[in-house]
Amino acid sequence: MERRFSPVLFAALCLGIAVLYVPILVLIAYSFNASALVSVWGGFSTQWYAELMHNRQILDAALLSLEVAVASSTAAVLLGTLAAIALVRFARFPGRLMLTGMVNAPLVMPEIITGITQLLLFVSMLQMFGWPHRGFTTIVIAHIAFCTAYVTVTVQSRLQSADRSLEEAAMDLGSSPAQAFVEVTLPIIAPALISSWLLSFTLSLDDLVISSFVSGPGASTLPMVIYSKVKLGVSPDVNALASLIICIVGSCVIAAGYFMRRQEKQRLLEMQIAERG
């Protein structure tokens, strides 16, 4: 059957994409507005970007957010990959149903509920064991929990489509099961690991609600600072900061997408060659 766009479908697609993109483009355009009044166009200027570089509060918050994001996405990729291996490779084990539930629930659980319940846990733990103090540690733990869910789902679908016979061939040739996994399957699922690390990184960098609950005095992440500024209304320096974050994250995503597509093509090519030879 011939695949083609009807004009109605094409219009719907364009409308949807416009809805998604127009606000972001307008925001970026206004970040270069020389006027301090957000409604008036006062000419092109990069002054708001320059001012950001001198704002201690924003720089500190950005640094904390980056540290949290790196720590939690790295831990989440480790835990999430283990969970994905367990769910795909082990057909039955005690706790399987519970694990399935716990990796799917955070994807839909309203953040406000996750945030308040985790805070109450941390407070009770502090009372009982004297650990953890609210701040960096608690934010990282909370972020690992929801990032692990995203990693598991991403890696799981990749692992399901990976060809088991290659691993079996390696074992027939004398590899141990662990060795076969690391040398054969791990390279195949590597793109999924990279993309889930990046996904976790951006999710952690973006989180406002959960961080607000579990954070303590003195530990404000970037979204927390932005939220308190945005509460006061639209302002040119937030426009600049927002545009900067959107551009950095956007180019990371595009780069990751390009990288993974190339790797995928390379792999398909190698497999074709191997089949012919």
């Binding site: 059957m1 695949r3 083609r4 766009f5 109605v8 479908l9 719907a12 697609l13 949807g16 994409i17 809805v19 998604l20 606000p23 972001i24 307008v26 925001l27 206004y30 957000v38 409604s39 999430g80 283990l82 969970a83 291996i85 367990a86 490779r89 082990f90 706790g95 519970m98 694990l99 716990m102 629930a105 994807l107 839909v108 309203p110 953040e111 406000i112 509920i113 996750t114 308040i116 985790q118 109450l120 846990l121 733990i141 909370a142 929990a145 692990t148 399901q160 074992m171 973006d206 406002l208 932005i226 939220y227 945005v230 509460k231 639209v234 927002a242 974050i245 959107i246 995503v253 597509r261």
Partner: protein
């Protein structure tokens, strides 16, 4: 089974299982416990449920006062209903917008498809908070939308969108649209084209084939997408807080104010627990369709 010997399996299973149990599941038990306590002027600000009496017994003091309070103060009921209503209609609008988009993408050639998917996924990766903020720039009283409409002479005074229900709807639809499109695309892409050809051969006009073949087969995607929009939307905090007015009380906002404004942790916990019961049905539906799709 073949991958590792049995004891080795637990090295793989235990770390994620233990971590998520301690830091995701057990917190709900603590929230439930604290929802049965009472506020107290101390740190942390609630009474103990279990206390040791001098003669060595453990005394349990629970109170359902917080849950009774939720029923008597009408602000909670109003907020629950308003949240459900807002989430429901936003989900319907997302479905109406997202279905044709997902359908169009699934009909495109493979190369166009991957570009279009990237275009849809990109906003999903970009900061949620910043996108809500970007929307505020469009719809506020002196924003682009009003400026353009005024210049064109279509309106004589700025439309009042900010701090109304309309702003909350726009915010939710704008933020959650990709969550609807992606699962819909996933099912529409797998659609069996031979069935459509068969329908055409048997004389069905394309719209009939669409209704009889495409729509029924895409139901799992419709449900997954709807739940991915509906459940987080009910609990949305950022959107009503930044775009809504004082009347647009959603439950997430009530919980936030109870916690950060009134410092009433037990009542906030009770709101969270009651909220969770309300969402148990939709979450179960989502889990059911999700596992079925994963196993398919």
């Amino acid at each position: 089974m073949r991958l590792l010997e049995r004891p080795g399996r637990w090295l793989i299973i235990l770390p994620p299982l233990l971590f998520l149990t301690v830091f995701f599941l057990i917190p709900f038990a603590f929230a439930f416990k604290i929802s049965l306590a009472e506020t107290a002027p101390r740190v942390p600000p609630f009474t103990d449920i279990f206390t040791h009496t001098p003669d060595g017994h453990i005394q349990v003091s629970v109170s359902l006062a917080n849950f009774k309070y939720l029923l008597t103060d009408e602000v909670y009921g109003i907020a629950y209903l308003y949240s459900l209503k807002t989430a429901f209609f936003s989900t319907l609008i997302c479905l109406a917008l997202g279905y044709p988009m997902a359908y169009a993408i699934s009909r495109a050639s493979k190369t166009t498809q991957s570009i279009l998917l990237l275009i849809i996924i990109l906003p999903f990766w970009t900061s949620f908070l910043l996108r809500v903020y970007a929307l505020e720039g469009i719809i506020r009283d002196g924003g682009i939308l009003n400026t353009v409409l005024l210049k064109l002479g279509l309106i004589s005074q700025p439309l009042k969108i900010m701090r109304t229900s309309i702003a909350v709807y726009l915010g939710i639809i704008y933020s959650y649209l990709p969550f609807m499109v992606l699962p819909l695309f996933a099912t529409l892409e797998k659609l069996d084209n031979t069935l459509l050809e068969a329908a055409a051969d048997l004389g069905s006009p394309p719209w009939r084939a669409f209704l009889d073949v495409t729509v029924p087969q895409s139901i799992p995607g419709v449900i997954a997408g709807s739940m991915l929009v509906f459940i987080p939307a009910v609990g949305e905090f950022v959107i009503p807080s930044l775009l809504g007015g004082p009347d647009n009380l959603m439950i997430g906002r009530v919980l936030w104010d109870e916690f950060f404004g009134n410092h009433d942790w037990p009542v906030a916990s009770a709101v969270a627990i009651a909220f969770l019961f309300l969402l148990a049905g939709p979450i179960a539906i989502y889990q059911y369709y999700n596992t079925r799709q994963q196993e398919a």
